[in-house]
């Protein structure tokens, strides 16, 4: 599911008030989930995380290595650097750490959000998040 547009709307609505941390949870039975996570982080290294994220969602499930490299080209990334990154599993440790973190807190569904520790499972409309964020922002001391 694609929660990206909602997340962007949240960031635009609350400038300077939201710190977004993204963790990867590539689905273990999907052939290209892992390499797609690598691709998003390789694109992040070149400053185009969201651009790659959006293209991955739009073109899924066509996420094989050759397609990913073609997307990198479309986005104007340094394709050699990008290919080297996904081939060597440059971000493998980071992704493994994310998966372990998710499983350690019994989290298996994507997307799952934590807003100051409040868990939200699944894609939700903007207003659903807004209510929680407004409540959190109005907590004393925030």
């Amino acid at each position: 599911m694609a929660a990206g547009p909602t997340v962007k709307q949240i960031l635009q609505t609350y400038p300077g008030k939201i710190r977004l941390v993204i963790k990867n949870y590539p689905y273990k039975y999907r052939d290209f989930a892992r390499v797609a996570a690598e691709a998003s982080l390789a694109a992040k290294d070149q400053g185009k995380y969201w651009e790659m994220h959006d293209i991955l969602i739009a073109r899924s499930p066509k996420l094989d290595r050759v397609s990913l490299i073609a997307y990198a080209g479309e986005l104007g990334l340094d394709v050699n650097k990008f290919s080297e990154s996904i081939d060597s599993g440059k971000h493998a440790k980071e992704i493994d750490g994310d998966v372990q973190l998710a499983e350690s807190i019994d989290l298996f569904n994507t997307p799952t959000f934590y807003i100051n520790g409040r868990q939200v499972v699944g894609e939700r409309p903007f207003d659903y998040f807004k209510k929680i964020i407004d409540e959190e922002l109005h907590q004393p001391g925030r």
Binding site: Y27, Y29, F108, T110, Q119, V121, G122, E123, P125, D127
Partner: protein, 351 residues
């Protein structure tokens, strides 16, 4: 004799849902003779309910879509689904399921024991092979010991798994709602505004024609012509789910099916085309969004739908002409009057 004939004729002419039923306060939960409740069985059922082993890839449990924190629903328009697929209907709350004659929006199951296995097998829900599941559970010594304690011998079968889960589900009851206090004779059980709403509920609003009894539901199916969600109609994954279910239920036109046939899939009776089960209204304030496809996010939208006489072309409802004040009072009754004491819950430790 003539009078008797008239009464008979009048009875024949009554619409399916044409008279207001009595609302009832919470009473004893019906327990089937073949599956008596025991504390050990309930505890086992609770563990199984939260155990992801019941899904094919180990990511889903019953609680994924029936989350205690979300009123035993999941708060989404359409229910969560097996990874890479999409569900097609809203996850109904489990609160009060013990009182239901039929389960699922289309009523395909008539006991909780029967119901429990459907989502486990369903390709777009838990996608588990039941033969395999039995062996996965049997490979956990703590479970085997519990099955022996609960059922008298250690055999692990899908039927026993379903029996234990059903026993747990029969404990999910909304109790001590203001309506219950009111119906038990405490005139101050409902606030004055909620009493006004109650009068609309049972009178001008005609809600109690279908929402009556202890569970505020008539155990019947009505074609209100709730609109399809255009976004869902465009999603090929939902189309796959819809056609899959239709195929399983031997619906001839499954290849091109473009809407949810509802109860028709089960009965093949034309009057059931797009008919869905009347849901319970207990704890309704905490189980949004509403209708079988979650099309309405708020109770205001639902009240507006009924006030306008339901969906285009339906024969079950007529416009109600409620004033804005009356709609507000009705909402107060639904929110305040039908919300019981919090259901105490402690997460089980999964072996």
């Amino acid at each position: 004799m003539r009078k008797i004939a008239w009464i008979f004729l009048v009875a024949l002419c009554l619409p399916l849902c044409g008279f207001a039923g009595q609302l009832e306060s919470i009473k004893d939960v019906p327990i089937p003779q073949q599956n008596p409740q025991t504390p050990a069985k309930i505890e086992l059922g609770k563990k199984l309910f939260f155990d992801r082993r019941l899904s094919g890839d180990g990511t889903m449990s019953c609680a994924t879509c029936h989350d205690p924190q979300q009123g035993y629903s999941d708060g989404l328009e359409i229910s969560l689904s097996y990874p890479t697929t999409r569900n097609w209907r809203n996850s109904p709350t489990l609160i009060g399921v013990a009182f239901q004659k039929y389960l699922f929006h289309d009523g395909r199951a008539s006991s909780l024991e029967e119901q429990a296995l459907f989502p486990m097998m369903s390709a777009f829900e838990m996608n588990q092979n039941l033969d395999f599941m039995e062996e996965e559970i049997r490979s956990v010594p703590e479970y085997v010991a519990e099955f022996a304690e609960v059922f008298g011998d250690p055999d692990v079968t899908r039927e026993r798994i379903a029996m234990a889960i059903a026993a747990f589900e029969r404990t999910l009851i909304s109790r001590d709602a203001p309506l219950d206090r009111f119906l038990s004779g405490n005139k101050k059980g409902l606030s004055p505004e909620a009493v006004r709403g109650y009068k609309i509920f049972t009178g001008k609003g005609k809600c109690s024609e279908c929402h009556f009894g202890v569970n505020l539901a008539d155990d019947r199916f009505h074609a209100l012509q709730v609109q399809e969600n255009p976004e869902h109609l465009k999603d090929p994954r939902i189309a796959a789910t819809r056609r899959f279910v239709a195929k399983v239920f031997h619906f001839e036109g499954y290849r091109t099916l473009a809407e949810d046939p509802g109860r028709y899939l089960i009965t093949k009776d034309q009057k059931d085309w797009r008919a869905f089960k009347t849901p319970t209204l207990r704890e309704i304030a905490g189980t949004a969004p509403y209708m079988h496809n979650g099309i309405y996010a708020t109770l205001d939208e639902v009240i507006e739908f009924f006030n306008g006489g339901g969906g285009t072309g339906n024969a079950a409802l007529k416009p109600l002409q409620l004033t804005p004040t009356e709609k507000g009072q009705l909402k107060v009754f639904l929110e305040e009057g039908l919300t019981g004491a919090p259901i105490r819950f402690i997460y089980p430790k999964i072996p």
